[in-house]
């Protein structure tokens, strides 16, 4: 069982946890019993042997002993192995998850800076456009006015006409201006959208990894359970010195429970 001993040692190591003297002190522990790893492994081995021996009473062919010992070892190694691979998958998944988280965080900041930059650029452009438009309007107004004045139409009566013409031209101008702004906005909107799509994709990957991680963790906590020492329902041992009394008590406990079930039904 040399290989088993090594494996056991590893397993016990994995089961143990580290603590410091200070931590123990804080818990109010002054003295600890120290048991060496070898000793623990030896104890487990001894226990296995003892159990086997106890169970072998009556069927002590060496062949059978060997078979059962083999099966036990295989089962143990299988459990150990499945635990190891789970552990590994768990670690890998953790690594993957933190890498993804990092990427997502990075992308988020990138998106934020780009969005911030775009927003300030946009507002700057809007401000500039406003000033420019006002200047243009002013200029246009003057030009129309000048044109009419050249033709000697510079009096009270033409003032309304100037306004009318100006309004008409300005309307067309406004449409053109909006188109230009929209085109410009679209240009950086595409940039933002691209970043957003990348972010969504990474977020999806992160969620999937988290899901997987959760599944692995669940599998890890899905303990196969500890087997009972009994294979069958036992009942009172007929050799029990208080057999009669206990039989009576079992009956009355059962009846009390039956009554309780009826009461709450």
């Amino acid at each position: 069982m040399g290989k088993l001993t090594n494996k056991l040692q590893e397993a016990v190591k994995k089961l143990s946890y580290s603590t410091t003297v200070d931590q123990l002190k804080r818990k109010g522990i002054q003295k600890v019993n120290v048991v060496g790893l070898d000793r623990i492994v030896a104890l487990i081995e001894a226990a296995v042997h003892r159990t086997l021996k106890a169970r072998m009473a009556g069927l002590e062919t060496a062949e059978m002993c060997g078979e059962i010992a083999g099966q036990t070892r295989d089962e143990f190694l299988r459990l150990l192995h499945s635990n190891e691979s789970l552990e590994k998958a768990h670690q890998e998944m953790h690594g993957e998850k933190s890498a993804l988280e990092e990427q997502v965080a990075l992308l988020r900041t990138e998106l934020q800076t780009v969005q911030g930059k775009l927003a300030s650029r946009e507002s700057q452009l809007a401000r500039e456009a406003k000033v420019q438009a006002a200047e243009e309007d002013q200029h246009l107004h003057e030009e129309i006015h000048g044109l009419l004045a050249q033709r000697g139409m510079d009096d009270e009566r033409t003032r309304g006409l100037v306004q009318e013409v100006f309004g008409l031209v300005r309307g067309h101008l406004e449409v053109e201006r909006t188109r230009v702004t929209e085109a410009r906005r679209k240009e950086y909107q595409t940039e933002v959208e691209l970043l957003n799509r990348r972010l969504a994709k990474l977020n999806g990957a992160l969620a999937a990894t988290e899901d997987q991680l959760q599944r692995v963790m669940k599998a890890k906590t899905l303990h196969p359970g500890l087997p009972s020492v009994y294979k069958k329902v036992q009942g009172l041992d007929s050799h029990d010195s208080l057999f009669a009394k206990k039989t009576e008590l079992m009956e009355s406990i059962f009846e009390a429970n039956l009554r309780l079930r009826r009461e709450i039904a």
Binding site: L226, P227, S228, K231, G235, F254, I264
Partner: protein, 369 residues
Amino acid sequence: MSGNMDTSEPAGADQTPMEGSAVEGATDKEHGVLYVGVDMGTSRTSVSASNGVRETLASVVGYPKDVVARKLLKRDVVFGDEALEKRLSLNLYRPLEHGVLKSGDEHDGDKNLEAANALLRAAVAMCRARKDELVYAVIGVPAQASIHNKRSIIDVARESVDSVMLCSEPFAVAYGLDMLEDALVIDIGAGTTDLCRMHGTMPEDSDQITLTYAGDFVDRELSAALEQSCEGAQFTLGMVKATKEKYSFVHGQEEPVIVDFPVAGKPQPFDITKDLLESCKKVVPPIVEALGRLVGSFDPEFQHKLRSRVLLAGGGSQIRGLDRAIEDEMKTTLGGGTVIRIEEPIYGGANGALKIAHDMPEDFWEKLK
């Protein structure tokens, strides 16, 4: 007590040795019977199972107070000592106590039932039963548990085990020690001390007395005494309880008990020896008085036997020298008696329930499935 008798050599002729087929993981439940003994106390819930598992947790269930708390705790429900630790962000329930300790809504009896469910589920989960084994459980409940509580316990238990029976907790303690006849059990818990007379048949109401002279009572008495004697000391009932659990005694204390309490934020030593002794001692006379009542109303021929087999159990019985103090008091007021301290006060009920489960015949389990 003889510890967990079920994990020692498997007794009984039906014990099948490890068969080749048993090694393969089969899904039908033909590969074992796991017996589980549960002690659902008002303050602690303990389990003891025929696979060697022994666990205990405080009978407290906590639900996060709000979204922030839930995010922080990363869980929808927290149990036992952890719940007590994180009580500031939880609504706490002690489902086996009457009513609700703390909650947002005062009328949520349903929440209390839900907490009882959660607690029992957690207790059964601690047994780590294999999926392919039949699980038969006996649950010891406080003598004063309401029918409402019992129904809830049965309902939940049936979800997680194959068959379940309830029994009175002090009875389970006595059964675990094979003291079925002419014995008296004193089970000192947090809220109550339950006394139970064993005379060979199931104890009836007239065999049981419930007193409120128990752990919480000592905490309150000690707290009041310390408030008088430790001037300026700042402490909570929780601190007093922890101090009691560490130093309590009624006999055999030679060195003074000195503890630190903060005074204006700075820890200062206080000698609490006398207060501790006197507060702990206060439970003795009422307990012995109740013992006297149970003895006095018993068949005179067997009264002497009853007095000589008084079992001391429960977390609150861990006060040092309590067995001796009760004996002394019995000597003066009842003319003598012998008190036997059970070896594992915390697991006495669970171990006894486990033994009952083991001894219960198969057809009874079948009928209650």
